[in-house]
C-alpha cells in the first residue's frame, strides 16, 4: 500500500498493520509522520492539555546480577561502589518530593540478590504508614521476576504480596526491545524474555494494577524489531487495557559495555511518531526529555506526545550513561505553554491533579537533578542486617555485623 493511502487510513482513524507501519517508518518524510502522529494525539486529547507528574526517580540499589550490556548504572555484587538505600534515606527523599508538590516515587533498582522480598514489603509498608496518600510506582517486570525467582513464588503471588504491602502501579522499564534475538545480544534475556515481560504485565493488569510500557531503541535491533515491539504491546493492550502510557527513549551509550552511538534527535521524533500511530489503543505518550534534552523533548509535543513525563527531581540511570538534562516544574510548564498547550499536573493514572504547583505557592528552582547518594557515600543501612543475604559477599558482610546470627531464617 502506498504511503499516501496509509496516511489517509490513519487520518480516518483506521488501524495500521505491521507492514504499513514499517513502510511509513522507513520511507515517510519526518514532517508527514509528525502530522499523522499529531492527528492521533489531537483525536485523543482534543482539549490541548499536556500533562506532567512531579515525582522522584529513586533507584534503591545499583547492585545487579543481570549485567545487561547496555547498562552503565549497575555494579556487580561485592563492588565497593555498590549501594542499597536505607529506609530513612527513602523517607528523606519522599519528604523532599512532597515539599515540591510530588505525589509518588518511581522506585526501581538492580537485581540485588541480598534484598529478599520481605525487604520490599517492609519498605512499602513503612512508606505507606508514614505517607498514606503517597504513591509507589515501583518495580519493573524484570525486578518482579527476580523477586519471584528469589522467593520461589509465582509472579502473581509476588505481585499480590507487593500490592498488599502498598504497591500502586508498575513502571514499564526493562522492556528494551521485546524480541528475544535482541535481548540475547544485549544479555537481558536472562532477566526477562519478551514473553516473560509481557506476562508480568498481563498478571499485573489482571490483578488490577495499571502499568506503563517502554521501549529503548538504538542498540542492535532492526526497524522490523522495533515495530514488532510496538505490535506486541498493542496486542496486550487490546487484551487487558492496563497500560496507561508508552515511553520510548534512545539507548545512552556512554560508560556501557555495549558502547556505540546514540540514535539522533530526528530518529527519536520519527520513532515517537510511529509509536503514536501504531499504539492506537494507548491513551498517552510521554516525551523523553531526560534523554533528548528539553528542546527535542518539547518538539515531541508536535510528534505525538501529550505528556512531558516527570519533573523527576532525581535520576541516576540515564545520567550514568552520559545524559544529564534537568527541567524543574517551571521549566516543563514553560515548554508546554510555549508550544501552545495547557499544562496540568497529573498522577500515575493520568488523572488531572491541578494547575502547576509553583503558581500556587513558592517552590525553589531546581537546576540540577539529585542523585541516589552523594559520591563516596557507601554506608550500609542499619536495617539491612535483619534481612538474609544470598550472595557470598552479602552473607559475609551481614555476619560480620554480628547481629545477623540467628536471624538468617527470620524475615
Amino acid at each position: 500500500m502506498s504511503i499516501n493511502r496509509t496516511a489517509d487510513r490513519i487520518r480516518s482513524g483506521e488501524r495500521v498493520g505491521g507492514d504499513e507501519a514499517l513502510e511509513l517508518y522507513r520511507r515517510a518524510p519526518t514532517a508527514l509522520l509528525g502530522r499523522l502522529a499529531d492527528g492521533v494525539r489531537a483525536r485523543k486529547h482534543p482539549d490541548r492539555i499536556v500533562t506532567y507528574i512531579i515525582d522522584r526517580n529513586v533507584n534503591y540499589t545499583n547492585v545487579c546480577v543481570a549485567r545487561c550490556t547496555f547498562c552503565a548504572f549497575y555494579r556487580p555484587v561485592g563492588s565497593s561502589e555498590g549501594y542499597v538505600l536505607g529506609f530513612d534515606e527513602v523517607f528523606r527523599k519522599i519528604d523532599e518530593t512532597i515539599a515540591v508538590g510530588g505525589v509518588q516515587l518511581l522506585l526501581q533498582g538492580g537485581h540485588n540478590p541480598d534484598l529478599p522480598l520481605a525487604w520490599y514489603e517492609d519498605l512499602f509498608r513503612a512508606v505507606k504508614d508514614r505517607y498514606p496518600a503517597f504513591k509507589l510506582h515501583a518495580l519493573s517486570p524484570p525486578e518482579v521476576i527476580h523477586l519471584s525467582r528469589l522467593s520461589q513464588l509465582p509472579v502473581p503471588a509476588v505481585i499480590a504480596r507487593l500490592m498488599a504491602a502498598g504497591l500502586d502501579s508498575i513502571p514499564g522499564g526493562g522492556a528494551e526491545i521485546l524480541v528475544d534475538r535482541v535481548r540475547a545480544i544485549l544479555h537481558c534475556d536472562g532477566k526477562a524474555t519478551a514473553d516473560e515481560w509481557l506476562d508480568v504485565m498481563r498478571h499485573a493488569h489482571r490483578a488490577g494494577l495499571r502499568t506503563t510500557a517502554t521501549m529503548m531503541y538504538g542498540t542492535v535491533e532492526t526497524d522490523e524489531e522495533r515495530l514488532e515491539h510496538l505490535l506486541r504491546l498493542r496486542a496486550l493492550q487490546d487484551e487487558t487495557g492496563g497500560f496507561t502510557a508508552f515511553i520510548t527513549w534512545s539507548y545512552q551509550p556512554d560508560h556501557t559495555e555495549l558502547a556505540g552511538c546514540e540514535a539522533t534527535g530526528i530518529e527519536y521524533l520519527r520513532t515517537l511518531a510511529i509509536a503514536r500511530i501504531v499504539l492506537d489503543n494507548f491513551d498517552n505518550l510521554q516525551a523523553s526529555w531526560v534523554t533528548q534534552g528539553g528542546k527535542v523533548g518539547q518538539l515531541s509535543l508536535a510528534y505525538g506526545a501529550n505528556d512531558m513525563g516527570s519533573v523527576m527531581i532525581e535520576e541516576n540511570v540515564v545520567r550514568a550513561a552520559g545524559a544529564s538534562y534537568c527541567m524543574d516544574e517551571a521549566e516543563i510548564v514553560r515548554n508546554i505553554e510555549d508550544a501552545g498547550f495547557a499544562a496540568r499536573r497529573r498522577n500515575m493514572h493520568y488523572e488531572i491533579l491541578g494547575d502547576p504547583i509553583f503558581r500556587e505557592r513558592e517552590v525553589p528552582r531546581m537546576l540540577e537533578l539529585a542523585t541516589a547518594r552523594v559520591a563516596g557515600d557507601n554506608t550500609t543501612p542499619e536495617e539491612l542486617r535483619f534481612y538474609p543475604a544470598r550472595s557470598r559477599s552479602g552473607k559475609q558482610e551481614r555476619l560480620q555485623d554480628g547481629r545477623i546470627a540467628g536471624l538468617q531464617d527470620g524475615k
Binding site: A28, A31, Q298
Partner: protein, 304 residues
C-alpha cells in the same frame, strides 16, 4: 508563492511542522540535500596563548576580544604562521569596531592591518551589536577580506520577524553576506529558548532572509540534537564542529563521525568545507571548489 507572507502568517502559530516544511522546500530548491559543515579549531585571542591546530581543522578561529590593535595584529601573525593550510578567521566585527574607535584608527585601516598579518575572514558580525552595520560590513569587503557569518548576539524580542526583515534588507544593500546564523549566541540561562522557538526561528530565517545563501546552525553551541532538527527546517550549513577527536567533557565520540551520522539521519548528504566555504575532498583536502548552491536535485527524504 509569497514566502515572506507565508512566514508572517505562521510566525505566531504553533504549527512548527508546517513552517518547517515551507522552509525545507526553499532550502532544498537552493541546496538540494547537500549540507555543508566546517571543523573549527578555536584559539584564544591572547598573544602567546597556545595554538593547537588539529590536522582536521578547516578553519582556525581566533575567539575572544583583542586587548589592543597591536595585540590583535600580533596574534593574527602567530596564528597564521601556525595554521598551515587551514583558513585563519577571527574576531567579532563589533569588537573590531570598538577597538578601532578606542585606538583612533579607521575600521578599514585596522582590517587592512589584520589582513596583512594573515587574517582571511572576520569570524562573525553580530547584527544586533554593530554600531554601523552596513558600513562596517562593507569595510570588511573593501579591506580585501570576507565575513564568515552574520550572527545574532542575543535575541531581545519574542518576535524574530523585524530582525529577520532587517537582515534581508541589509543583504539587499551589501550583497556580501555568505551565511546567516539566526539563533542567538547568548541566551538567558533562566529562560533559555525552547525547541519550538529555535525551530521557528531557523525556519523563518530561511524564508525571510532568502537572499543570503546559507542558513547556519552552530553545532557546539546548540548541540547535535537541535542542530540536526534545524537542518530539516531550513538550515543547510553547520558551523563549529570540533576539529579535536576528543574534548574533555565534550563530545561523546569522534566529531566527524557524529556530524556525518546526524546529517545522513536527517536525510541529507554531508559535505565538508573549510572556513572559506571551499568544499573539501574526502580526507580534508581541497577538492573541486563548488558553490554549495549547486547541490544535487532534492531526493525523497530517507528514514534514519
Amino acid at each position: 508563492m509569497n514566502t515572506v507572507a507565508d512566514a508572517e502568517s505562521l510566525a505566531h502559530s504553533h504549527d512548527i511542522i508546517s513552517i518547517g516544511v515551507l522552509a525545507d522546500d526553499l532550502r532544498r530548491r537552493r541546496h538540494g540535500t547537500r549540507t555543508t559543515f566546517v571543523r573549527v579549531a578555536n584559539v584564544a585571542a591572547d598573544v602567546g596563548a597556545p595554538v593547537s591546530r588539529p590536522a582536521a581543522a578547516g578553519e582556525v578561529r581566533i575567539a575572544g576580544v583583542p586587548g589592543s590593535r597591536a595585540a590583535a595584529v600580533e596574534r593574527v601573525r602567530e596564528v597564521a604562521s601556525a595554521a598551515g593550510r587551514a583558513v585563519v578567521t577571527g574576531f567579532s566585527l563589533a569588537d573590531l569596531e570598538q577597538l578601532s574607535a578606542r585606538e583612533n584608527v579607521t575600521l578599514r585601516a585596522l582590517l587592512e592591518e589584520l589582513r596583512a598579518a594573515g587574517l582571511e575572514l572576520v569570524a562573525e558580525a553580530p547584527v544586533d551589536r554593530l554600531q554601523d552595520t552596513r558600513r562596517s560590513i562593507e569595510e570588511v569587503n573593501i579591506a580585501g577580506m570576507a565575513l564568515a557569518r552574520l550572527t545574532v548576539d542575543q535575541s531581545s524580542s519574542a518576535d524574530p520577524m523585524p530582525l529577520l526583515k532587517a537582515v534581508a534588507d541589509l543583504q539587499r544593500r551589501v550583497a556580501v553576506l555568505r551565511a546567516f546564523a539566526p539563533l542567538p549566541r547568548r541566551v538567558n540561562p533562566t529562560a533559555p529558548t525552547t525547541g519550538y522557538d529555535d525551530v521557528k526561528h531557523v525556519a523563518l530565517a530561511r524564508l525571510v532572509v532568502d537572499n543570503v545563501p546559507s542558513i547556519q546552525v552552530d553545532w557546539s553551541l546548540y548541540g547535535p540534537k537541535l542542530a540536526q532538527v534545524a537542518l530539516t527546517v531550513g538550515a543547510d550549513d553547520v558551523d563549529a564542529v570540533s576539529a579535536e577527536d576528543e574534548v574533555a567533557g565534550g563530545p561523546r565520540r569522534a566529531p566527524l563521525q557524529e556530524i556525518r551520522r546526524n546529517i545522513i539521519a536527517a536525510g541529507q548528504e554531508p559535505v565538508e568545507r573549510n572556513g572559506r566555504f571551499d568544499i573539501l575532498g574526502p580526507l580534508g583536502t581541497l577538492g573541486v571548489v563548488a558553490s554549495p548552491s549547486e547541490g544535487r536535485r532534492p531526493r525523497e527524504e530517507r528514514s534514519p
